[in-house]
């Protein structure tokens, strides 16, 4: 009986275009849109070696003081490295202007009664070049000043002038690195898990005789309602879990979003999140009467919960956590994203298991509501 009902329910779900669209394609579409939208944002802040032009002159060319400083942070010495701040192209003024015009360089440096910088606009690269030149000029002027005013102090102070002390130290508290974009995808996956609730509403409609003639016919069969509920919901759950795992695989393997290395626990989070979504839908299904209202609750609830979890703005998740901590503990999307977050950033799993435990409790509450209402065997009206 289980196999019979399970297989046919799965068939009905797979052939319901709306369910497949909202569950699978909507999430894939969103993931793709997020990827392109946020990868551009990431590109703008991602550092790349800056191409600059250097106009050939005795004060700037090889052997000069400026050239030796520039070589230490660029490939001006002929040695290319990933850590180079600048890629230097040496030539005449005309050549440099042509390179700037065609966008091959972000700016060029020449000497005319002092160090001059020519750029074609303002931006990240131009600011870096200018900062470098300013710092060079400032240091040069400082050293010159010391030589003129107090040559005896030069050897004492030169080390302080030349040294830059970095008061920040980079340390990693997570087993992985960090990925700003991942936060959006956590919320997206949370939404994929919870959107399963819409399909569950339909599953419940198939079981309540007061909601559909189909359900009335099914209720006349000699199969216990609770068993039918289990059969139907198993099929729905299986479908939704596969859908979320497809979305997860797409995000991780195709879009290349880094979720960390705890793949097993990531999958577990997806499964528990989907179970929560499915039972959220069944509880809404048994409590509501109008189909429109039920869909509004499930879709609205899913999107609102995902919004609080940072689907539309990453700052929202932190705002909720800081100002409305209770909401962050009862909002399923928040718990799902937090579980992903914990897996990614924390060495320990305490916070992860806390999130999973709360999700399980919420699922249990929704499931209990569903079962209690479904226990009602006869209806006041059909």
């Amino acid at each position: 009986m289980f196999k019979h009902a399970f297989v046919y329910n799965l068939k009905t779900i797979l052939r319901e275009r709306e369910t497949v669209f909202w569950s699978l394609f909507f999430s894939l579409l969103m993931a793709t849109l997020f990827y392109f939208a946020f990868s551009n944002i990431a590109e703008t802040v991602k550092f790349k070696t800056i191409s600059i032009g250097l106009v050939d002159s005795p004060l700037l060319s090889e052997g000069s003081q400026f050239h030796s400083v520039l070589s230490s942070i660029s490939d001006a010495d002929g040695i290319r490295s990933e850590d180079d701040l600048f890629h230097v192209m040496t030539g005449t003024v005309e050549q440099a202007e042509e390179w700037l015009k065609t966008g091959r360089i972000s700016g060029f440096v020449f000497y005319d009664q002092g160090m001059r910088l020519v750029v074609s606009g303002s931006g990240f690269n131009q600011t870096i070049i200018k900062t470098f030149l300013d710092e060079y000029n400032q240091t040069t002027q400082t050293v010159k000043g010391i030589i003129q005013d107090n040559p005896a102090a030069l050897f004492k102070t030169i080390t302080d002038v030349m040294n830059r002390k970095d008061y920040l130290k980079q340390t990693s508290v997570s087993p992985t690195g960090g990925d700003v974009m991942a936060t959006f995808f956590y919320a997206l996956l949370a939404m994929s898990c919870l959107i399963a609730s819409t399909a569950s509403v339909f599953e419940i409609t198939k079981l309540q005789a007061n909601l559909s003639t189909l359900a009335a016919r099914i209720n006349c069969s000699p199969v216990k309602k609770f068993k039918l509920f289990l059969y139907n919901i198993s099929a729905s759950l299986a479908f939704q879990i596969v859908v979320v795992l497809i979305v997860l695989a797409y995000v991780m393997l195709v879009l290349g979003i880094d979720f960390g290395e705890r793949t097993g626990l990531i999958i577990l989070t997806c499964i528990i999140g989907t179970i929560t979504g499915v039972f959220f839908g069944t509880a809404t299904g048994v409590l509501g009467k109008s189909e429109g209202m039920k869909m509004a609750i499930t879709i609205g609830g899913t999107l609102f919960s995902s919004f609080l979890a940072g689907l539309m703005a990453t700052g929202m998740k932190y705002f909720v956590q800081k100002n409305m901590p209770i909401v962050s503990y009862i909002s399923p999307a928040n718990l799902i994203t937090d579980a992903f977050y914990s897996l990614y950033y924390y060495d320990t799993l305490n916070r992860f298991w806390l999130n999973i435990a709360i999700l399980c409790i919420i699922s249990l509450v929704f499931c209990t509501i569903t079962c209690l209402v479904l226990r009602r065997k006869t209806y006041a009206s059909i």
Partner: protein, 309 residues
Amino acid sequence: MISVKNLVKRYGDLVALDHLNLDIHEGEIFGLLGPNGSGKTTAINCILALLKYSKGTIQVMGKQMTPQSYDIKRHIGIVTQDVAVFEELTVYENIDYFCGLYITDKAERASLVEEAIVFTGLEDYRKFYPKKLSGGLKRRLNIACGIAHKPKLIILDEPTVAVDPQSRNRILEGIQELNAKGSTILYTSHYMEEVEMICTRIAIMDKGKIIASGTKNELKSMISLGEKITVEAFGLNGEGTAYLKALKGVLDVDYSDNTLVVKSQRGRNNLVHVLDYLKSNNITFNKIYSEMPTLNDVFLEITGKELRD
């Protein structure tokens, strides 16, 4: 097979079933006839333990019918008023799904599904989805889903609503065939011709009550009307209708739109007298019908309104 005693069902102030009593015997085709809103579907939903009722008892197959009466439900087939099938499953899959709720053995089920397909004439539509079927074919699928498991008791709630005449005849013949094979049938309809054609016993419902029950002849014998003569006549005047009204045993005379209707008491045959009068008074007439009373006449005489009102 079904015994309903003093069943009362209220929707707020509205009394949908008012001390309803029904006794349906094994092997019969029992017709529940009544206008829309008379309480037929409500009665069926109560019998099937889908609806709560305020008062009364319902027994099916000798046992109290409750939502947990799975041993009774196993032997019941239901054909709902609205087509209740999965739009996402094909004809074959739908029948197999519903049959599978009753029959777990796969081989047995395959044979039963095939039988139901042949029985309802859906052989050419096995792989069709319901949305591709005509209204009549959908109704046949609805029936196939309800009878595939060969139930002892089949409840059909207005199965021929919005069905073309060809499909309707096929459905009615099918119901008689199912009965001949041993199933007890409870058939509800507001089409008196159908009920008259296939039912062995009939109960007429109105406003949640059984107002009359028995065989069709028993029902007709309950009313005073015995014959209804309809003649297409031209130029009959008030004097003529008064004369006809005065004939022995005539209950009512109506003349409008060149149609003369003369109703006589049971046991009286006034056809000859009516025609004699028309001839002797040179009144031209064409078509003549003499009818026995219908169930509509029974309903009309008891309630004072037409069955289709």
